[in-house]
Symmetry: D2
Subunit: 300 residues, 4 copies
């Protein structure tokens, strides 16, 4: 069986969860997944930040996962299972396994942010890794997690555990420090969690990315990865800058509501976000449409 | 019926959730509630931050509330129901009502911290207040909520809604800006969320506090409130400083694990916290014991 | 000779530095000082944050101090001397002494914020206190100092040094933790650095305040201190809330430029700030005028 | 005359300022500059953060610059002139010109951090650029500047000014957003301010770096730039990781004191830092020595 680095190479879409009048719209989700399955994406992240997983009840999470189980096609599905406690997280990993999934991601706990020392984070992840029936991708996202971050030192210690497959890094800095610290580490997959640093991270050893842009521009993201693999760096840099500018407008200014609006513009029925997020206004959608056109994406 | 300011006056304990080997220990919770019910506390906060509510599964939350429903005695119970989405929160408020409770608190949503503008926070709370069958206490806790805070301007607008009973403030600054902005507002209860500023906040118009110290020193907290009411300010200041110093050691250094250790030292079976929190070491417990003794608490 | 607590009791104005077309306007400063000298203020802070001390060249700082030396009347002048290095700071303290001043304040160094551990801060202040010919008031202002703060533990150790007279606290939280930690400490003066918590801090043992509001409402600030001393707490609370609301509009929204605009409205020739700060627009000044009138200050 | 991008291409050392017993040691500085002049560095940054410029009095700054004027050899010297006010900064730029220098850098003002909006930063820099007799390199360093940062939008507007030559970026994220926003901008030089992202930034269009590692490993930094230019990317990545790991230990753990210790180990008389910074202990120096050896630098 190929190693983690090979299996996780490429681009993942952190798939959004469509809502309609505050209710789950699972048919829309099904359509989104079918369309994304026809692209060159490596896989999907179910119940990630872009999936508004924190805004779902536990029964709703399960219903979302059931749709992913039916609509995964040939894609690798990584299931977000991170909760504040190890106990809850292990429950969600068990559920993912029951539904037939083979890989999970686990966000750092962060409600007790001041207590989340390197030692606490290491203990938490090892406690899970020891008991998990599925391999785990660590998820570092200090912007969502009240500033809590996995340090490079902590990562070095966790990376040697056989059940820890890799890390998705959505910090502001990107995974450069991880890649330097891991130097020579075998079969640990580093995934960039933002278009801002996906391409330069590939030069440092990252194997792929989990990119919100892949929800609305999946083929462009896949193309960027291919240009890197082929050593066509000048073209890659130009495509990177185009995607980075689009990403800056959409996610930088509007977050998940922006991603959903961009998907609608590109023909994906992403629906509205759930309160406390609100759908974009008409003028805001026009800004996104303009940004996509200006960079040569989308449009008729 | 008395107004919110009268009903919420005094001291609430944000009751901890005892665990044993990572499992809920509901018998220990029952014992804690019985002992706290014999004090002069005004009420309990169930499923608050000190209750590690974020570390519980949804079925576990319900089991905890069932114990509170049986062991509330004459105390007013405020049920923590804050989730990331309005939809989830309304579900938990409905559950609280079903179990016979009459008051809930709702933490600010914060996973999408960058999007939590004043406008988003106002829309979120009004969306809930319009539909809630129970009065709501807002919960402002930027230290837990990735820096998200309810501004004084936003509070002024929310405070006039008939279903919004008050606010519990656990910011670093205390509720001074709220109390200045509310000046003259009728029947909106401001509760201090920390022993650090409980007493000085009373001088500015707060009616009470939700104090982690009330988990292990309930009578001292009640006494401080009484000294203020009686105008015995010199004695109040001295007692305040004693409690503030103890609180600094216990919560400032150790958080919820420190509160649980202090409760055990004072005879309450608070048990261990759940991972990612860990129980204190022997030397850490000795520091807490020494701090309590040094200020004349506990012992004997 | 009376102790530090007695000498520093009351209200200090952190006097602004008037500019005209980016140049020092020392005649305007002279007029401001003469008017403020006719009030019940205890003293002045020269070259504080409100004085834009960081925006002055070293020769300009000296020229400002020379005006203070001439226009101090019966007021106690505290001279801001805090620089990034102990070496520079000692040079500025020597200059203050040469000009006849008897008290200095020293802001925490903060350019190398990540290195400013408790130990580094303690070593810095002790290194200065050992060599300073004048008593020192510590200045804690994390909002200006990139988050660097003097901890309560560190303060406890510094407070026993004979050359350290007190602390001015301009943190967001106010000096409650210092006052709890100092309990019983003899002759160490705690000054509140913000109107937001000046009055409640008096209840905890602070002896006075250095208040930007004292630049434009000196008598109201002095009156608030008097009401506290006389035990007229209900009146004090009402006046506190009025000042806190005015302060929120002026400093909370506009900073030093707001203070200067408010002074102009109250008849003090405070002039404009220096770039990168800019003078308020007409509509912004109208908001300030309205806030002052609404609370019954200024006007007519 | 070649454009800014050509003139600023390559590696700059942000030269440290040696102290001995808290006093300037200008002979040591002279020796450091002579040794660094014999390397392939493009130039020096005088009076930068590594030069502890904030810890120097104005006369000391001048004395340091006089040594740079004498010991510049064939190197391009960029003089740090950033102060809190435009007025002071222009005075320092005039001084740099008087001493014969041709390029300055200007850090963002930050004491009034809350007021430093995009608009304020733009007004500040344009006010200087209009009056400056020398071209300016913007200096973005939120870690030193209390979180104040130049946004990509703001940079886009400033980059078109003829007197603004480029930007040195020492943020945590690196200059990726700037390079995306500048796409196609002619003759504006982007310099990476950290070894952490120097190499990947070259792939995005940066022309060079101002690297603290260049103080003690100048030739390795120059070599990394050369490998990039020659398209030898695999070797470059390996060298990058070695430098990044060394940098993480030295600057990440110890800051300027670490840089000075590393220089001493490599034979440069860098001396001690000035209080509030303190020289490393023996065990700390051993950690640095070990890190250098482990990566194959120094020693032997």
């Amino acid at each position: 069986m190929p190693g983690f680095k090979d299996r996780l190479a490429g681009v993942f879409a952190p798939v959004v969860t469509p809502f309609s009048n505050e209710q789950l719209d699972l048919e829309a989700l099904r359509t989104v997944l079918r369309r994304l399955s026809a692209t060159g994406l490596t896989g999907f992240l179910a119940l990630g930040s872009n999936g508004e997983f924190k805004s779902l009840s536990e029964p709703e999470e399960r219903r979302v996962l059931e749709v992913f189980a039916q609509e995964r096609h040939d894609k690798l599905v990584m299931v977000g299972t991170g909760c504040e406690s190890a106990h809850q997280t292990l429950g969600k990993i068990a559920q993912a396994k029951d539904l037939g999934f083979g890989l999970v991601s686990v966000l750092t706990p962060h409600y007790f942010a001041k207590r989340m020392t390197d030692k606490a984070i290491e203990t938490f992840y090892l406690g899970i890794a020891e008991r998990s029936p599925l391999p785990i991708v660590l998820y570092n996202a200090p912007g969502y997690a009240g500033g809590v971050a996995i340090s490079a030192t902590c990562l070095s210690r966790l990376a040697t555990h056989g059940s820890i497959a890799g890390i998705k890094d959505s910090s502001a800095t990107g995974p450069g420090a991880y890649l330097a610290a891991l130097d020579g580490e075998t079969d640990f997959a580093v995934l960039a969690g933002s278009t801002n640093f996906f391409y330069p991270s590939l030069h440092l050893g990252a194997v792929g990315g989990v990119l919100s842009t892949a929800n609305y521009l999946p083929e462009a993201c896949v193309q960027l990865h291919g240009l890197f693999r082929d050593g066509r760096f000048d073209e890659a840099t130009r495509l990177h800058h185009r995607l980075a500018r689009v990403n800056q407008v959409i996610v930088g200014s509007y977050g998940v509501a922006g991603v959903k609006a961009a998907m609608e513009l590109m023909g994906y029925p992403a629906g509205a976000p759930r309160l406390p997020l609100t759908a974009l206004s008409g003028p805001e959608r026009a800004i996104i449409e303009s940004a996509l056109h200006q960079e040569g994406f989308g449009g008729g």
